[in-house]
């Protein structure tokens, strides 16, 4: 009970509440402005969280990401341009409704589903994480090695587009993680005589380069967009919501469950959760022909899923220290910076930190209702914010933010180089999520491998000597073989089909 009260005390104080409020407004703004993504919002926020205590810092990130994912639906509804990739799945539905004069109605149900999805994911997190953490306490270097490899493998197999590109993007991230002094021998690796690189690559400039500078270069590389809103929106935000909830509550539960599950898989974020939930919803709907013409059902399915995906991604992040998506990857970096090791011990440390975290999740999602309502009423203001004024300001924040971590110009160079490489990769359709997971998990894989080998005198079979370790190892091997197994199965089916 004392621990619970400690946790409540960590959240219900002036600083944390103020941070949550400010982060809500920031998240809504970034999500609602076309061209700025939720991950970019978090990357820009990280330099500021460096100066906060742990709970306000995490509260800022959790709130910003949840708000930005919802707010991404606003430009999607009014302009048919999704504010964040997580809104892309159902942008056609909400835009079609907006053209019929039902923009606020679409955003109203969207908001309620987002809140429901977020809270659903949090409840799953609360229920599952504690018991999983008890299992995770039995883990040693062998299990953590396989778990990290499983996470990295998932990021390749689940990513959208070419797997070869996802694989190369992942290796780029792992390569960055090897920079600095080697854990075992103390030998400098890829430091090129720069003393600032001896301690390894600083996580924050890489984040800013990968997600903010990359987006800025895309913006300047594209033609100047003229945003003109032709939508008339005099309808009510919440008037039809009770009716839709009564009709589509099953879709809300199903979308949230899919979202939480997909979000918990490493490498699969809110965007993939939304696409899968939308696809499943369409497949099971009695009115599937109406999908794409402005169907509320599609919005319910996908908008529940993308916000629950955000919460789901925290399950592996908190329990094992394995990030579920790019945003939790950033948070894990922040936790390491603050001297904390995400993992099962976070549940047992007795400081109430974990209860504070759960409370932050619930508060952030509840806060979405009033702030989201205000954002819907002020939609046109957000959308018409001129990017030509906003983008240079973001660039300056990137420069100062990268510098502020170590007060070092080397970090600005690092941001520049990584941002440039990320831009080149992104324009050639390389996904960025595997790279960031590689950066975070690369050292986890290497350090656990090395300490396991030191313990067993270099015996590789020891990775299959313990039951959980062997189980995880077999799961990884099966995942790697899955494309071949699927091909073989299809070939067999095809052959037997022809035989009859």
């Amino acid at each position: 009970m004392d621990i619970l009260m400690n946790g409540v005390g960590l959240v219900l104080n002036f600083e944390t509440i103020l941070v949550i409020l400010a982060a809500s407004l920031f998240g809504i703004f970034v999500g609602a402005v076309p061209g700025l993504t939720a991950t970019m919002a978090v990357a820009l926020l990280v330099p500021l969280t460096f100066y906060m205590d742990t709970i306000p810092a995490i509260a800022a990130i959790v709130t910003t990401s949840a708000m930005a994912i919802f707010a991404g639906d606003i430009p999607g509804t009014y302009l048919n341009i999704p504010g964040t990739p997580a809104s892309a799945a159902y942008v056609g539905e909400s835009y079609a409704l907006a053209k019929k004069g039902r923009a606020r109605e679409a955003l109203g149900i969207n908001l309620v589903c987002s809140v429901f999805g977020g809270i659903f994911g949090t409840i799953v997190l609360i229920v599952v994480a504690q018991s999983l953490a008890e299992v995770a306490l039995q883990f040693s270097a062998f299990e953590y090695f396989w778990l990290a490899v499983l996470g990295l493998s998932c990021s390749i197999f689940i990513s959208v587009g070419s797997r070869t590109k996802a694989f190369l993007s992942l290796l780029f991230g792992i390569l960055l993680s090897t920079v600095g002094l080697d854990m075992m021998s103390g030998a400098p690796r890829f430091t090129f005589g720069v003393p600032d690189l001896m301690a390894g690559i600083n996580f924050i400039p890489v984040m800013i380069g990968m997600f903010a500078l990359n987006e800025l270069m895309s913006y300047y590389g594209s033609k100047s967009e003229k945003k003109q809103i032709t939508i008339v929106d005099n309808d009510s935000v919440f008037h039809h919501v009770p009716g839709y909830i009564k009709r589509y509550w099953r879709n809300m539960v199903r979308g949230s469950s899919i979202g939480t599950l997909i979000g918990a898989l490493p490498g699969a974020g809110a965007d993939i959760a939304a696409w899968i939930s939308y696809g499943v919803g369409k497949g099971r709907s009695k009115e599937s022909a109406k999908y794409g013409t402005g169907n509320i059902e599609g919005i319910v399915d996908a908008s529940s899923a993308n916000n629950s995906g955000i919460s789901g991604a925290w399950v592996p992040a908190l329990v094992f220290g394995i990030p579920g998506d790019s945003i939790t990857a950033i948070v894990i970096g922040v936790l390491y910076m603050k001297g904390m090791n995400p993992g099962p011990t976070i549940f047992m440390d007795g400081s109430g930190l974990i209860y504070a975290l759960f409370m932050v999740f619930i508060l952030a999602n509840l806060m979405m209702l009033p702030i989201g309502y205000m954002a819907i009423r002020l939609s046109k203001f957000f959308i018409l914010t001129p990017s030509r004024v906003l983008m240079p300001i973001i660039l300056c924040f990137c420069i100062v933010g990268a510098f502020a971590i170590n007060n070092s110009v080397v970090d600005i160079w690092l941001m520049l180089i990584v941002g440039f490489v990320a831009y080149v990769l992104a324009v050639n359709d390389f996904p960025m999520a595997p790279a960031i997971l590689g950066l975070v998990l690369g050292s986890v894989v290497e350090n656990n491998f090395m300490s396991a080998m030191l313990r067993t005198g270099g015996d590789l079979t020891s990775f299959f000597a313990r039951p959980i370790s062997a189980g995880l190892g077999i799961a990884v091997i099966l995942l790697w073989c899955s494309p071949l197994l699927i091909k073989a199965y299809r070939y067999q089916q095809h052959k037997s089909g022809r035989a009859y």
């Binding site: 070869t164 021998s185 500078l213 300047y220 420069i399 270099g458």
Partner: protein
């Protein structure tokens, strides 16, 4: 063909990574030295890059064959034009690194903001007012509250009023 060049780029990066990794000093008592993971990554770059490059070549060959079978659109897909304006953010960052020691962070940020806004056809008055307000705000927040020692610059005599 962009994938072909990207793939070849990764193959070259892989070879360079492997060669560099071989030069890392190691301890004889360790079964697996500091070069193990970088070498594996380099090998992965070579393998993945080669697959990407060969796949691109194979697809191109397939498209040329289809062209013969009356589908000319596939043979030579329209390449995206490079808009060099995408270099504006990196150039601004290099300008900041080079100029901030002399001009100071605030003035350098102001110049970057003003020029970038003008280049995107913002009204000069709005650009000027925003640049002055935002650069002062950034400088004030980071220097005064977060105590980040942003360069003050030789030009302004090395001190600004709110820095003690």
């Amino acid at each position: 063909m962009r994938d072909f060049f990207a793939g070849m780029g990764f193959v070259i990066a892989g070879i360079v990574t492997i060669i560099t990794a071989q030069q890392f000093p190691t301890l004889p008592s360790l079964q697996y030295g500091p070069s193990l993971f970088p070498s594996l990554i380099g090998g992965g770059f070579c393998l993945g890059g080669a697959v990407l490059a060969f796949n691109a070549l194979w697809l191109r060959k397939k498209a040329v064959v289809q062209e013969v079978h009356d589908n000319p659109a596939l043979a030579d897909p329209p390449s995206k034009k490079t808009n060099w304006a995408m270099l504006l953010p990196p150039i601004s960052i290099v300008f900041y690194i080079l100029a901030s020691e002399y001009l100071g962070a605030m003035l350098t940020i102001m110049v970057i903001l003003f020029l970038l806004m003008l280049l995107r056809k913002t009204s000069p008055y709005i650009a000027l007012a925003t640049s002055v307000a935002v650069s002062s705000a950034i400088y004030f927040i980071f220097s005064r509250y977060l105590l980040v020692p942003l360069p003050q610059g030789v030009l302004l005599g090395g001190s600004l009023p709110w820095i003690s």
